[in-house]
Symmetry: C2
């Protein structure tokens, strides 16, 4: 039973929400151990029921842990990946929830021992509030969860992370780390920048006090992301700077196009708003679905995390490793192996 | 009883929500008559209980109406103001809910007869969905409702509109029409532009299908305004173009500042997000309050709309008009008279 341990490193909004979701699983057969640089946050997570045990050192957290979940901002994840190797059980599965993936995958390859199986992750979910108090077991319900297995990760490790994702009610999406970072810049990081820019634009103007009186739900929604954790935001920008700068340029180009329409008269302005409304309504009503090649089955991960922790974990890891073919050497090969079509044809 | 009539012109989201709120008032003593260019929309509003009667002509709608509420996009409001004068009862109070105020005030002054009392209005509330089906009696609960009385409007007319605002649970804010349009451009119209720009930026990119798979609640929230009614959006831009272009310029300047921070390293990026988080949290937790001069009482409008419609309306209007001093000649004078501090010191 002591081997059936899941370690959560970082018990903020995301880490605590993961803990709550895992703790709620019926007949669960694993122990949830957590740690946070801010010990009070970890104690709160435990009080909320997201952890069975709160510990004071990384070693205590990950010793005998079969699955280690890094739920910190990106730069803190780097330091943890550097330190983790010494304490990891051979065969342990390591995942993360960081907002950028290419750098994280590089660090995992550089710092983790060969015996560790790293599968990157990024749940597309969040809240304006941070910290364990804002956590909820249903935070990931229906959310896309990007999954980026490292070349070293074996199928059992991928299945464990898919099991985690599905236990939390999220929908896994295989994606290349570099592609992830480009698209995340477009749909997440630059929207955050726009939110900050809109808030600063009004806040720093002379008319702020009067303008604020008129601010309604539109302004509050459009500036919600600006209330997010500044450390997380900084780390995103530092590790995805090039893509973010590219998409800021695209946003500036859109603003110039709209400015031209405004200066050209009623018809182009109407066309702009009309076609955008149509396109967005289509997106909301029929969001693009993940495509699978004809006949390919999705990975049967539904109960992988449960099965993984039914017996003594270490034995199962060994057993599974012996049974499986060697791990594929790169993501594309792995994706083919798992019958997941590459996202870019 | 036939004189106690309120006419709602335009039964979309806002008009129908107003009707629902007014219909719900206990012991109400007025009839709600509505009209919409799209007759099916008006029938839906009636079915939902927002109207007592749905009519087919402007004349039928406003004859013997003591209060006329124009709840259409701005350019349609212009045509209605042009046509309305012929049918209005002398002394009738006319108000609107349009998103821009300077042009509307000009049209009202130009087109309405001297016997009409125009008090402009703009509720800072809305929804991504339009049409009567999306309406709700609680839409305006706690929202700011900008009020811009025309020089010709007497105190009784202002009280009637304040009563309408407070009946719907909103908080009235006196503001100069030109100031309103500047601030609305900052907190409402340019956020709408940003929402459209963000959506188009991703939608028109080659990676749209893949990027959309990663789009989470942040992207959905930041592009929500882009699903609004395109006619309303077009009319806002046509009647507030100068202010909107000014604030787009400010937004572009903010984006350049952020770009510079991203290129300068970790510390300025952290400072940017940290100070913005602090400022926005302060705004959300302690929003600026409308300031009143020491000792001045707020207008006692709570039951003005009710009182207005207790007896035969026409008689009361005449009676009240005889009792009141001449209407003040401009907004500032009116504000002083009502003990409302000017928004700009």
């Amino acid at each position: 039973m002591a081997d059936n341990r899941i370690a959560i490193i970082g018990t903020g909004l995301i880490g605590t929400s993961i803990g709550l979701g895992l703790a709620a699983r019926p007949n669960r057969n694993y122990e949830l151990v957590g740690i946070d640089r801010d010990r009070a946050a970890a104690r709160t997570a435990k009080k909320l029921g997201a952890l069975d045990r709160e510990v004071g050192s990384l070693e205590e957290a990950v010793e005998r842990a079969g699955l280690v979940i890094i739920a910190t901002p990106v730069m803190a994840a780097r330091r943890i990946l550097e330190d983790l190797g010494r304490f990891l059980m051979p065969g342990a599965v390591v995942t993360d929830v960081c907002s950028t993936k290419a750098e994280v995958m590089r660090w995992a390859a550089e710092y983790l021992p060969e015996t560790a199986h790293f599968v990157g992750g990024h749940p597309m979910a969040g809240k304006e509030k941070s910290g364990p108090e804002a956590a909820s077991a249903s935070l990931f319900e229906g959310a896309t969860w990007a999954v980026t297995p490292s070349p070293r990760a074996d199928e059992r490790a991928v299945q464990a992370v898919l099991g985690l994702v599905e236990t939390l009610g999220a929908i896994p999406l295989y994606i290349d780390p570099a592609e992830h970072d480009q698209y995340a810049a477009a749909v997440s990081h630059v929207p955050l920048i726009a939110s900050v820019a809109l808030f600063r634009m009004v806040r720093d103007s002379q008319g702020w006090e009067d303008a604020a009186l008129l601010a309604g739900p539109g302004f509050r929604d459009m500036t919600r992301l600006a209330s997010g954790d500044p450390t997380m935001a900084r780390d995103i920008m530092l590790t995805n700077r090039e893509a973010v700068l590219h998409w800021i340029g695209r946003l500036e180009a859109e603003l110039r196009t709209i400015r031209t329409a405004l200066e050209s008269g009623a018809e182009p302005v109407y066309d702009l708003f009309y076609s955008t409304q149509l396109d967005r309504d289509t997106f909301i009503q029929n969001p693009p679905q993940r495509r699978r090649p004809e006949g390919a089955e999705p990975p049967s991960a539904r109960d992988a995390i449960g099965r993984m922790f039914v017996g003594g974990l270490y034995d199962k890891i060994k057993e599974a490793s012996d049974r499986l073919p060697a791990a594929p050497r790169d993501d594309r090969e792995l994706k083919r192996k798992l019958g997941i079509e590459d996202e870019r044809p």
